[in-house]
Amino acid sequence: MTKYIIRRLLQTIPVLIGVTILVFSLMHLVPGDAAKIIAGEGASDQTVENIRERLGLNDPLYVQYGTFVGNAVQGDLGSSIRSGRPVMDEIGARFWVTFELAFYSTIVAVFLGLIAGIISAVRHYTLTDVTVMIIALFGLSMPNFWFGLLLIQWFAIGNWMPESLEFLKMRPSGWGDDWRQVVLPVLTLGTGGAAIIARMTRSSMLEVIGQDYIRTARAKGLTERIVVYRHALKNALIPVVTVVGLEFGGFLGGAVLTETIFAINGMGRLTIDAIRTRDFPMVQGTVLVISVLFVVVNLLVDVSYRYLNKRIDLN
């Protein structure tokens, strides 16, 4: 196990190097002159030159990359071109908002997805199963930003939980202090993931239920409840763990759309605003932070998957 963790850790090094190179390249892949674009139209040559100097764009590429990585490791991602504040400070203020949004959404997705998937598997090929799977297929096919808009509309028209619509007000930072304000964004982001987890749980459960040891358990005279929940579910959940990790990461990225709809001041909105205003250091910073976090999550998922699987092997 330790050996596996070390090997897996070593494997992430080239990935992280690749990620930094790609993020670093963002500014250099811009068609035309990045400094000119940042300066805006009609800027004087002197202004453009100043920006170029400040971003170190006159140095050779490998020096620029070295500086970029060296600074990033020390938590310095440069300064925003628009606000002049350090990128890391701006991200720090918003990081937990997005993290929380993704985290709660994961819980909702796992909760809804597991229930739906288990019901579907236990009653496979019944009307219930078909209905649940059709709903899941819709959940999978729905743009979540559209679903979010519909939720806002329904809640507003039905006048349900007016507090949940408080979200539409811009918040300087962080969540409101009322849990009801979290409901709509979390539902918006979590539903698509729930559909994926439901489908995954169902097929994984069906595969396990078909196996010999489940027949043995049934033959022993155990009740169906114990067979399903104690024997089948435990093993069926292992592949689901992988998806849950991926979903959490996907939510971190997908938060861009949800945060835009609900005017949440998280990292997603920060990224979008930075893209709109061509604030390249800020774009680089948010993209780098989210992807490094995703790499770490994937690492944890792989290790826990291995751990769970190993226990099975030993049994």
């Binding site: 729905m142 808009l149 097929s203 861009v256 990224t271 995703f294």
Partner: protein
Amino acid sequence: MSEETVNHPVTAKKVNPQLESFKQFWRRLAKNRAALIGGIMILFFVIMAFLGPWIISTFTDWEPNKTSVANKLQGPSAEHWFGTDSFGRDIFTRIVFGMKLTLYVGFLSVFVGGIVGVILGIVSGYYGGKVDTIIMRLMDVLLAFPGILLALAIVAVLGGSLTNVIIAVGIFSVPAFARIVRGSTLSVKKLEYIDAVRALGASDFRIIFKHILPNVMSPIIVQASLRIATAILTGAGLAFLGLGAQPPAPEWGAMLNEGRQYMYEAGHVALFPGLMIVVVVLAFNIFGDGVRDALDPKMKK
């Protein structure tokens, strides 16, 4: 990879093995209800995308970009089936004209990403060794950007336009193809007949295109149809953020974004484009699920 396609029965009759497996593919596909329903829906959308605008401009005086302030934000009626938007434009007409854009994003991006991904996957699986390591690490890097983030970063660099969305979503699709094709190539490569062909002096190029590619086709087709669904959603998301097709293009994601401000007074403006995205994406998902069941007997329960 199914055994059947690989070891299909060779009778004394002279048969073209590729044609046979192609026929077999269609037979199995036609038997699968989900694949059939999804396929018919997709066909309908494709026809609508190309004939719809022509029918509308020939037989009616509806135009996708004709504004009429007097008629703005009207609900659905006999005159305006899906109502009108904030500029008084007919939403139904815009949706019909926008169908082509949605399918463009779906098909073109997956086509571009698929070709690159398939080549990388086959090369990686076939040659193995250092080439494999480098290609797969590269794919890992692309996969390290969760969800829409990679496409977003690419559009951030290139600037917002329909073409750039297609490029971005295409790059976003590459790793999925590369991984799946690599896996299938590895298992096909081990089969004896590949050794036999090689012993007969076939070149790598010939082995790859003549023998490996046809045998990894089914996972590619499954992946492509599911990927088109994702691509349409991602493209619509980028357009919704204002980074895709620019107004007044009747792109559904962009229409949703325009309708967003009128959620309370005129919900239909955002309702219909969203509903259309759901239906089209649903068709590709149903088709993909069906194709997977039809082509991969292992997955069948």
